[in-house]
């Protein structure tokens, strides 16, 4: 990149940073005003010591991780099969993955809760339904990310090479293919994680502990604590993203068929 170009890059970056941080800064400053007359962390202490926070935040993290795992287990073999053997199925599957995008979330949640709160399908109380719902909501992003990743590597060659070396399907999928699409999975995992942490309607109507309903609760009752909780959640989610990235090998990972 030419030298003049770098200056432009910095310009746009700084503009972006300003846009993203100023609202956060405003929220942070407001959260510090919980004590009259001076700035302090009282609101933060209140949030951290709130038992509902202590249950809802880890709960949402767990839902998110489960959703990501289910997504990987469900979508990787599917996308792989489609790419390798069943291109005829591709249009149908892509259409399906776009449905959560097309249907307004509030309507979907109502439909889901309505369908499963009557016998004989009365599983509305089970956490599995929540995870299933989250998996559906994150499906457009997760599936798309995995599909993009598979598209960028030479699936056929990798499979045949692995097979000729005597690998079974499990090994092929999880020890050959998966590492090669690691970056795409990571990107899908990011989005899924954020979606689950921020999702309100489903958790609310299924009456399960989750973080977004907790924040809504705070806003109903308290003045300064919601701002503190927002900042806390931002920081913690960002940290979790960072962990996911580092654990997943980071952006520096190699993609077979190299760019």
């Amino acid at each position: 990149m030419k030298r003049g170009g770098v200056i432009w890059s910095w310009f746009w970056m700084i503009l972006g940073i300003l846009y993203f941080f100023l609202p956060l800064l405003a929220t942070f400053i407001f959260s510090m005003k919980a004590e009259l007359g001076h700035l302090g962390f009282k609101a933060y202490l209140n949030v951290f010591s709130d038992p509902k926070f202590q249950t809802s935040f880890p709960a949402s993290v767990i839902w998110a991780i489960l959703t990501i795992i289910v997504g990987i287990l469900l979508f990787v073999p599917t996308a792989y099969l489609v790419r390798l053997r069943l291109p005829q199925a591709r249009s149908a599957i892509e259409l399906i993955t776009l449905v959560p995008f097309v249907v307004p979330a509030i309507v979907y949640v109502f439909g889901l809760v309505g369908t499963y709160s009557h016998p004989p399908l009365l599983i509305v109380d089970s956490p599995a339904l929540l995870v299933a719902g989250y998996t559906v909501l994150s499906m457009p992003y997760m599936y798309r990310a995995i599909d993009t990743g598979l598209r960028a590597i030479d699936v056929r060659t990798l499979t045949e090479a692995a097979q000729s070396l005597g690998a079974g399907w499990g090994t092929i999928l999880f020890r050959v293919i998966l590492p090669n699409i690691r970056i795409s999975i990571l990107s899908g995992a990011f989005l899924s994680f954020a979606i689950v942490m921020g999702e309100y309607t489903l958790a609310q109507y299924l009456a399960k502990p989750a973080f977004a309903p907790y924040i809504a609760l705070l806003i109903q009752n308290k003045a300064y604590e919601p701002a503190a909780a927002t900042i806390i959640s931002f920081a913690l989610i960002w940290a979790c993203m960072g962990i996911i990235q580092v654990v997943g090998g980071g952006e520096q990972g190699q993609v077979a068929g190299g760019h």
Partner: protein, 387 residues
């Protein structure tokens, strides 16, 4: 590679620190207030409730008229877990939750609801309630504010009522408005807010209703209220944000039309940060909130215990400590059961002597009119479709 491991450890450390902080925090949290339960609740009900193991309530925040104390009373009496659903919900949502969970005995089905006055009738018509007469039934007056305070068959029972008031953040608003016409003054540009969306919120709709009374309307004619808000909006004084205690404190909605007990509750919880004043405009509206047991309640006995507590002396006093006006107030007064310091805290009834209360039909008609008329009369941003 070294930076990667380093950043990994730093991040993990950060998350662990946050978790530890919450653990430390919980150690510092004050011990839950201990206190006896409510002894007037029949013991067999309490035992049956304990067997049920849970009670599900809905749309009932702890800081709404000091409900938290009622939660504590319930826990102290039965030791049973309280499952609190959707504290942001409105009365209509509560009925919908009952209907949507008819066959469901799980935690999504509410046992008991606390709804606006009009929903007493609506719920009966929809078959959402089942009858129960509390043991203190006779202590509940037949009428409060000129309207029935309990359904004759026990399908719903009035609990408390509130009066529409003006809540003002005096750190932002130097001279608080005292009455409806003050709100139109240019001093209050962009400062007047409602506590909900008038098309769906009971409280916000009643704010409009109250405005109607002050501007030539009546309990049967809410249009002047819509006209008033149109004037307010045209003057630039109306801010469309739904007021919460956070936006009140931050200053985005420094003047809020809300129930007096909520305003007084905010004043206490904010404790001067920022300072709040509460004033009663004149005329104003008073409205009762009623409670009913769901026809499909999964935990019927706990719901009954809950009702008993609400109508015990301690329950009524709890609401009154939350600045709401308990329906059994007159009875408690006659027995001298109200502590002197509580009596001193409560606003004098002369302050809201102008309050009138609409009956269910008037409420429903007004809500219909507001729902259809809000956009057309007050209408903020309705662009015409492109040609």
């Amino acid at each position: 590679m070294r930076t990667k491991t380093f950043s990994y450890y730093m991040l993990v450390l950060f998350v662990i620190a946050a978790t530890l902080l919450s653990a430390c925090g919980s150690a510092a949290a004050p011990a839950a207030s201990s206190g006896g339960g409510v002894s007037s609740v029949p013991a067999d009900l309490v035992a049956a409730c304990k067997a049920e193991g849970m009670v599900t309530i809905i749309a009932t925040p702890g800081n709404w008229a000091n409900y938290q104390e009622i939660f504590d009373l319930f826990t102290a009496t039965t030791g049973v877990k309280i499952n609190s659903l959707d504290e942001n919900a409105g009365s209509a949502d509560e009925l919908k939750a009952i209907e949507a969970n008819k066959g469901n005995k799980g935690p999504q089905a509410p046992d008991i609801v606390d709804v606006g006055y009009a929903y007493g009738k609506t719920g009966i018509d929809a078959g959402d309630y089942q009858a129960y007469k509390v043991s203190t039934w006779d202590k509940i007056p037949d009428t409060v504010l000129g309207l029935p305070a309990k359904d004759p068959t026990g399908l719903w029972t009035g609990g408390y009522y509130g009066v529409m008031a003006l809540e003002v953040n005096t750190a932002v608003v130097k001279t608080a408005p005292a009455n409806w016409n003050d709100l139109l003054k240019s001093d209050y540009k962009g400062q007047v807010a409602l506590a909900g969306d008038p098309r769906s919120s009971n409280q916000a709709a009643q704010s409009v209703f109250a405005a109607a009374l002050a501007n030539g309307g009546s309990l049967d004619n809410v249009q002047p209220g819509l006209d008033f808000f149109k004037k307010l909006n045209d003057a630039g004084n109306f801010v469309p944000v739904i007021a919460k205690v956070g936006t009140l404190a931050q200053g985005a909605t420094p003047i809020v039309l809300t129930w007096d007990y909520l305003a007084f509750g905010d004043k206490d919880s904010l404790a001067g940060n920022p300072p709040i004043t509460v004033a009663y405009p004149s005329p104003t509206i008073a409205s009762m909130y009623v409670q009913a047991i769901s026809a499909y309640a999964p935990h019927l006995n706990c719901a009954k215990v809950w009702m008993e507590i609400l109508h015990s002396d301690q329950g009524q006093l709890a609401w009154m400590k939350g600045y709401a006006h308990g329906v059994q107030q007159a009875d408690l007064e006659s027995r001298g059961a109200i502590p002197a310091d509580l009596k001193a805290k409560l606003p004098a009834s002369s302050a809201f002597s102008s309050a009138v209360s609409p009956n269910p039909d008037q409420l429903s008609a007004a809500r219909d009119a507001i729902k259809t008329g809000w956009d057309t009369t007050v209408g903020v941003d309705i662009p015409t479709p492109a040609p």
